[in-house]
């Protein structure tokens, strides 16, 4: 008897190997929901034809909200009727992505009742992504999720669901309570998350230390990255223990320090803390011996984005150090000042980083009332991009006038 031929030979290739496979997961979902098998067949067809069969966007959503639901329809609804509508819902994840198993079961049960049962935990935004439901199922899904304490996240030209690393809940390096800050900003800006009113998206991301586990510096329009302004704490005995156990401190720590601020004579490690750029390398290599200082807060950066309209941008420092203590009012005032300017002068689909590049950082800082300082450089201790001359001239003129 001939072996049954697979209907999805190209997708089957993606099940091979030791790593998790989304094809395997969709096949499991297809056992109980016909959306799964239609999805597999359509995807196989797309791979074969090299044509995307999805239409994106539109007017789908839940009552009162302008974000959090991404409309998707396939362009072959007669052939794949179960996924004629296949909308995505973004659900605001808990800060730090902590769930009880009960909460996870609740989300999955709701989604199996109303949608495809297929999830993406988590999307690149950080949200819980619920993949695939009919337009009519959106509102009941939302209502049931809301009853269980979940809310829809952001999408479109709004504040995207803020995300944070797990911070002080588990990480001894975290320089501030990222989860508390993330929750606070999420609750403060509910209106901005749900009602799109910006030129384009705006992302808040909170990292507890310069390791930046949520990659805020590369993705967020405004990043809050934990740092310290005193000295790195050192346990000298633990340093010697690392050396005794075979760590080549000269090669693996000293020579890899980007600021060249560490010296090792075989007995003692010396750090010139004034020259340290807080890259975390030495702390990462010798976590039992070195720790961030105790005078902690966050460095605030502005303007990164992934390459969609323009190329990728990394963030620029806007506030070198800020004590991250609730209610963060100064930061919120600054954020709102930036929103006002960006909404007034920004072009459609222009991220704030692109806006800053267009108008110039000097003009931007002046418009939002932030004084340029030496830490605002493209790379530490090189390439200052603030044009200081005009500021010096103004001050010089004022001094001259005062002298007269």
């Amino acid at each position: 008897m001939a072996e049954k031929t697979s209907e999805t030979p190209l997708l089957d290739e993606l099940e091979k190997g030791p790593w998790p496979s989304f094809v395997k997961e969709i096949k499991m979902a297809a056992e109980t929901n016909p959306m799964g098998s239609d999805l597999l067949n359509l995807l196989e067809r797309s791979y074969r034809e090299k044509i995307c069969h999805w239409k994106h966007g539109g007017i789908v959503g839940v009552l009162g909200y302008g974000g959090g639901v991404i409309g998707r329809y396939n362009d072959l609804p007669e052939e794949y009727p179960h996924i004629a509508h296949f909308h995505t819902m973004r659900i605001n994840q808990p800060a730090g992505w902590y769930y009880s198993t009960k909460a996870l079961r609740t989300v999955c049960d709701i989604w199996e009742r109303h949608g495809s049962g297929i999830t993406n935990m988590h999307g690149s935004t950080g949200d819980i992504i619920l993949l695939g439901c009919h337009t009519d199922a959106l509102e009941p899904t939302f209502q049931e999720l809301a009853k269980n304490g979940f809310d829809i996240g952001g999408s479109g030209s709004d504040v995207r669901t803020p995300s944070c690393c797990l911070g002080q809940s588990r990480c001894e390096w975290s320089c501030y309570d990222t989860m508390a800050a993330c929750y606070d900003f999420t609750m403060t800006y509910q209106d901005e998350i749900h009602r799109p009113a910006f030129p384009y998206k705006w992302k808040f991301k909170f990292s507890g230390c310069p390791n930046d586990c949520v990659a805020a510096i590369a993705r967020a329009d405004i990043s809050f990255i934990g740092t310290w302004r005193d000295d790195i704490r050192m346990d000298k005995d633990a340093v010697l223990e690392y050396a005794d156990r075979g760590l080549d401190i000269q090669k693996d720590v000293v020579e890899l320090c980007p600021a060249k601020c560490i010296a090792w004579d075989g007995k003692e490690l010396c750090i010139d803390n004034r020259a340290c750029v807080h890259c975390m390398h030495c702390i990462n290599v010798m976590p039992k011996a070195l720790r961030p200082g105790t005078d902690t807060g966050a460095c605030i950066l502005i303007g990164s984005k992934a390459p969609i309209i323009e190329g990728a941008f990394l963030s620029s420092v806007i506030i070198p150090f800020f004590k991250m203590e609730p209610p963060y009012q100064e930061l919120k005032d600054l954020v709102e000042e930036m929103w006002d300017l960006w909404c007034e002068e920004g072009k459609n689909r222009e991220r704030i980083g692109e806006f800053i590049q267009r108008v110039g950082m000097g003009n931007f800082l002046e418009a939002v009332g932030v004084e340029p300082v030496a830490e605002m450089v493209a790379h530490p201790r090189e390439n200052p991009y603030i044009f200081y001359e005009e500021y010096f001239e103004e001050e010089d003129e004022e001094e001259e006038e005062a002298d007269e």
């Binding site: 007017i59 209106d191 009113a197």
Partner: protein
């Protein structure tokens, strides 16, 4: 004197209705138009409330086409035809 939110909403609605099918307007476009039309009688906060009123009353809906817009409710063009 501040203009009542209902009046701002009505004025915004007219703009959206006139632009329907010709130009997509963002919430910020509506706010800028109101400030241009009524000057000191309106502010950004009042405009925000007016947009909210239009959406909550379902006279207008948010749409997404590369960016987020405010439009009159209409049959979703991308949706498959219903029997």
């Amino acid at each position: 004197m501040a203009m009542p939110i209902e009046e701002i909403a009505e004025s915004m609605y007219k703009l959206v209705a006139e632009a329907q099918g010709k130009k997509k307007l963002k919430a910020m476009d509506l706010t800028k138009s109101m400030i241009e039309l009524y000057g000191d009688e309106v502010d950004k906060k009042a405009c925000k409330q007016a947009v909210r009123m239009l959406i909550d009353s379902e006279r207008c809906v948010y749409t997404y086409f590369g960016g987020s817009y405010v439009e009159l409710p209409h049959k979703e063009g991308a949706a498959p035809p219903t029997d």
